[in-house]
Symmetry: C2
Subunit: 532 residues, 2 copies
């Protein structure tokens, strides 16, 4: 623990526990360890790793995390429930598992809504308080730092404010360092938070935290409202992952605190890593990063309206509330049917191409883009294809590295159940006619291999290139397999990545186009002169 943040404000991450309850997420222990490292890199103070004992994967996670990760900033937190009704804390197996996990900090969840105590726990209000008191005191006696989550707090406060406050006071008096008020069902609005938090603070003297769910679309605002009212501990998840709609999103919450409130809650340099870390975590959980996330989304600083582009040419601050570099993101000019000349010029500059103030050229490019976008192409996500288009217009010719005569892919499942995928390409490169065949695990993979087999002798630079992402989108989706298909491919050569697009009636043809552009761009990047 080399550089622990100031304990006066807690950034508490629960991606690995609450975040994992998002529909579509399924984390292995390895995934959790990777995410924990990313979170520690970012500098959060606390990483709630899971529910050891209740969840075998989580028990393993705590063992391995403490053995394998040398945390620079964060402390590991184990999550679990108060002792069962009628059982002593020291005899409760699940409480024991919390201690056995070895985590220095333990968050206990307790009911604070009388109805839940009666219907879900099926015990008495007094016993529930004893469960809180005993478990907190017991864990403190074992040397652990204890936080207590008051589940359903705001709904509970509305139903029976006295009881809800008694739960807070009980936890505080028993030794819980922070008592977290949870909007578990997510139904609160920011205007309702302030009065509750102020009253609870005044009446109990406890140090308070906030845990907001996003069911009304206000989790970030609710978290900030609680901080404004005196809470000094916020529970969030990366990318807002969580049950139902999700949890308060760590990134806009810390961005508000650091960049708007001017409050240091993360280590120096953390904010500039935010975009990278958001995307890295999305990759681990295997979810496409939300393109429209505040601060870190690919679209967050992407400008489309022609008028916005014109103003940005004068000063980017005219249409951006912060400099994207402060969160590790970049400004992007969108090339679309709304693009005007300013957009194309700025985009050209972004790609390192000087359009030399040639208005006729810029106008031609604007027209080509609108025409192709109408056909289904999207240059917004395929910078390399756009650059090839731009260069073709600027140079007056299309750079060709090879010319395809014909190609064929065969996919079959035989009676014995085995699968076969074979592709043959016939093409011309540097004046030579080449016929190449390859097998693969699918038709596009087989075509890609055949293309490489055919061309690698002539263009050895292809060997370094690897397809790293492949996305298929069916346009006019209402007609299933009879629609237009758009394929976006990302290719890497060890030094960078680029994206290309293909549009056709079927996925194979569309993939072919995207691959063609991918290799053409890769060879351009490698400085190879085109020769058919």
């Amino acid at each position: 623990m080399k550089d622990r943040p100031d304990d006066s404000f807690h950034v508490f991450d629960t991606t690995l526990r609450d975040g994992a309850q998002r529909e579509g997420i399924n984390l292995t222990v390895a995934d959790k360890l990777t995410i924990a490292r990313h979170l520690d890199d970012f500098g959060v103070g606390f990483i709630e790793g899971g529910w050891p004992g209740a969840n075998p994967r989580d028990t393993e996670f705590f063992d391995r995390a403490q053995a394998e990760i040398d945390f620079k900033h964060a402390q590991l937190v184990a999550f679990g429930a108060t002792r069962k009704a009628g059982v002593k804390a020291e005899d409760d197996a699940q409480v024991k598992a919390l201690l056995d996990s070895g985590a220095p900090v333990i968050t206990l969840v307790a009911k604070s809504h009388d109805r839940h105590v009666e219907l879900a726990l099926r015990t008495t209000l007094e016993e529930n308080l004893a469960m809180v008191r005993d478990t907190v005191a017991y864990l403190r006696s074992q040397g652990r730092r204890v936080f207590l989550d008051c589940e359903h707090f705001f709904d509970g406060y509305r139903a029976n404010a006295d009881y809800a406050k008694r739960v807070v006071a009980t936890a505080h008096e028993a030794g819980a360092d922070v008592v977290i008020l949870c909007d578990t069902n997510g139904g609160m609005l920011p205007g309702q938070i302030d009065a509750v938090v102020r009253t609870v603070l005044a009446d109990t003297g406890a140090r308070l935290g906030i845990h907001a769910q996003d069911d009304t679309g206000c989790a970030v605002a609710n978290s900030l409202a609680a901080v404004d009212a005196g809470a000094t501990h916020v529970q969030c998840t990366a990318n807002g992952y969580g049950e139902r709609v999700g949890n308060a999103n760590l990134f806009p919450v810390v961005a508000a605190l650091e960049l708007k409130y001017g409050r240091r809650v993360l280590p120096p340099g953390a904010m500039e890593e935010m975009t990278r870390i958001s995307h890295a975590i999305a990759e681990v959980v295997n979810l496409t990063p939300s393109t429209h996330q505040p601060y870190v989304g690919v679209s967050a600083f992407a400008h489309k309206a022609g008028l916005h582009a014109s103003a940005i040419k004068v000063d980017p601050d005219l249409y951006q509330h912060i400099d994207p570099e402060r969160v590790g993101n970049t400004m992007r000019m969108l090339v679309s049917d709304m693009a005007g000349r300013a957009s194309i010029e700025l985009k050209g500059k972004e790609l390192g191409i000087d359009l030399g103030g040639d208005r006729a050229l810029v106008q031609r490019v604007v027209e080509r883009v609108k025409e192709r976008e109408l056909a289904g192409y999207t240059y917004e996500a395929a910078d390399a294809s756009f650059e090839l288009l731009l260069r073709a217009e600027a140079e007056g010719r299309v750079r060709r590295y090879f010319r395809v005569e014909s190609w064929r892919a065969i996919v079959e499942t035989r009676p014995d159940g085995t699968h076969a995928n074979e592709a043959t390409v016939k093409l011309w490169a540097k004046g030579e006619r080449i016929v190449a065949t390859a097998e693969g695990n699918g038709p596009v993979n087989a075509l890609d291999k055949a293309l490489r087999v055919g061309l690698e002798r002539i263009y050895p630079q292809l060997a370094k290139m690897e397809l790293v992402d492949y996305k298929v989108r069916i346009l006019e989706g209402k007609h299933g397999t009879e629609s237009t298909t758009r394929v976006l491919v990302s290719t890497a050569d060890g030094q960078g990545e680029w994206s290309t697009v293909g549009v056709a009636e079927n996925v194979i043809d569309a993939s072919w186009q995207a691959l063609d552009d991918a290799y053409a761009y890769g060879l351009l990047r490698a400085g190879v002169e085109p020769q058919e």
Copy 2:
């Protein structure tokens, strides 16, 4: 205009104007007309249709909307700018276009940030005020209702509060019915909104509106904060579409007003249509509806944690802030590796299958699901495939309608540039061996057709079935075309839709599996008895 909402509160939608500035949206006039009908069905009071004159598609939209749509609730609004500096309002071509559009309401956008007046408009502060005064007064003299958007208002207020307020006062005095304070760069936080709105209200006496962008993740909260401070007009877009991160999302904003504030701002019955309308608009713009949107997302009331499921068995209100039916959504139990027995039982009930309290069966299903999810299957989005799995476990056998002996698909591009896609399937159905070949616009389409050609004589029910959606997802995407592919297919038979999943090394095999399940489920639905 049969049932216009009370004019005391304005729900003002700008999906067709500001929403269209979202990266990835490209609306035809037909798309705009369809969306306008959906918005009118929902009951918004105002539909800002675009910028006539500046945008030829928009000019056409206004003509056709007024000719073809019989609006039940909404009024059409034309958007545009104040007159150019140094030009009379009545001589400004763009202002004329606003009048020519025929829209009964016009929203003018004006600069209210001194820096923008100087840098972007390149005119004086006084001339800018004259531009506001003259244009508003001129349009009023022509019988139009005028609203004025104060662009960059909050940033402008921070820089030069007096000038910003003068813009508001000028517009108000010239006859603008509502002056809208815009957080154009989206940098505001809810705590900052209240004081500004109250002061402007007190100092100018104007009727105020709010237009929030979502760059800090607080657009919904900012809109509500403004309403709390006295604004009576909110500008939003469907699904939060808009420039950069997006605009304040219409749906959580009206849901907060109607369901939390108890304020009627839409016609009776509108809220129950919200989910349907949100999804319908997403379809028109051809964007996958965000699964995690508040209220209307597919995941908004989807419960994953086993403990949540157990509580929900007792009473759904224990983990839901509202009854999903109030917004036209439904509760869903998720079947995942987190599913416990309660989740499977509730899911079975949801699908109409009585698991008869058979604990061993339920446990077997839990295990099968976890195993398949590990391999890449996702039952969360493929209810029909899950139902087939459940029935197979419950009945002890897999229902087969046909048995595939072998299949083959050939995709080729010939030297003359023509494309060909042909598939042959060999299968057994009702004791008969069938060989069928078909051509299509792609390999999956050709296989689908061959399967139908082969089976339609034996199962005429297949004729009514149509593939209506087809999604491909590459898992472990880091390795391009060599990853596992998951295909989700939606099929309809005129009476309903169902979703199935297939997972394999390549898209063709995965598609085949999803189609196989789709037809098996379709025949099950049609009441056909399985016979191989």
